[in-house]
Amino acid sequence: MIQTFFNLDIMMAAWPIVLSGLKNTILLSLIVVPLGLLGGLILALLASIKHPLVRWPLMAWVDFFRAFPPLVLLILLFAGLPFAGLELGGFACVAIAFFLNTGSYYGEIFRAGIESVPNGQVEAARSTGLSRLQAMRYVVLPQAVRNVLPDLLSNTLEVVKLTSLGSVVAVPELLYEARQAQSITYNPTPIVMAAVIYFLILWPLVRLLSRLENRALAGRR
């Protein structure tokens, strides 16, 4: 059993491969999380324009990308676009797919946060001469982000986990490299290593999330 799943020799041998996968997973996360946050912020700011010409297309966009399974979207970009003469490579496809998919999720979180800030805050800011954008930036957004911090963090956890989808389009991230090592060594130990590494990266975030949620609950009392 230990020889099969926790084989020390194989761990030593697979370590360089797994480590390079880990680096790519971290790099991928550092790209897709800010990209998703940025996309979400743009969507949420657009959502604060109540004009029907903005509102309906926006709603359709967000609904569409929230209902579209990210794996399907990713494969469509990777395997479909070359037929349109556009070959993007795995990394770029992951970045675009995540921008579209997680941007929509982040967007809904930001929107809920913005709507949680009472209108009187904007009125006070505007009455002192701040522009709509300044009121948003200095008064509304800081409060909005604080109000939805647990949700933002929770979504970020999901995004980091979803980077493992990159393995499907040959992005050499943690899961992909672990599977490579597995097929070379004929042993599942590298996969176990990947699982442990995912846990070690994400567990502190999960703890932080619990603390934030508890604090939010305490604040509500």
Binding site: P118, G120, A124, S127, L130, Y138, Q143
Partner: protein, 247 residues
Amino acid sequence: MTQKHIVEARGIHKHFGALHVLKGVDLKVDERELVFVIGPSGSGKSTLLRCLNRLEEPSSGSVVVDGIDMLSPKTDINHARQRIGMVFQSFNLYPHMTALGNVTLALRKVAGKSRAEADALARAALDRVGLADRADHTPGQLSGGQQQRVAIARSIALEPRVMLFDEPTSALDPELVGSVLEVMRGLRESGMTMIVVSHEMGFARNAADRVVFMDDGLIVEQGPPASIFENPAHERTRAFIGQIQRH
């Protein structure tokens, strides 16, 4: 010498969908005047106040404040609003900033002051409302009365020509009302032009130059406090004053 009207609103109408909230209101206010606006809830007094700094867009009419046409598309409304301070019933302090931060925000971002200048002006404004020692407190650490005074400081720091007060003491516990009225009295003595929507009749009696009674979207009558309170001309005014005084 002809007195200059610092606020001149003419023929203000405001519709909210099918609701006709203001039905042609004219209001002229002189410099250094303190005008009290009273009336039953739903009479349109808060809406009138909010039309003066264009927090509400009037459906028709004109508003000129300190020579600036507030409704003209050519007017930079953000610039114009620096001249018109507003104090709200629910204070609306920014909860994520200290008292000082609340006061300095517009000084820095609208009036373009440096951080040091803004800090100095904000501390002076907080001192005027008696809260110099609370500069580093957040709104959550202040009483309602203190929060409202910080809100007043946030407005006066911009050196407005006119101050609008929208029921400034209605959300306060009775024992905290006095401190806010005290600050308002001080502002009045310094010569600030003030338009106050409030039911603080005692304050109206001894501080207001003029009382305006509104009902159903119109100004029913106006005059010096003594005549409005002791000898109202209209039945509706009499009924309202009677109700208020019974409480």
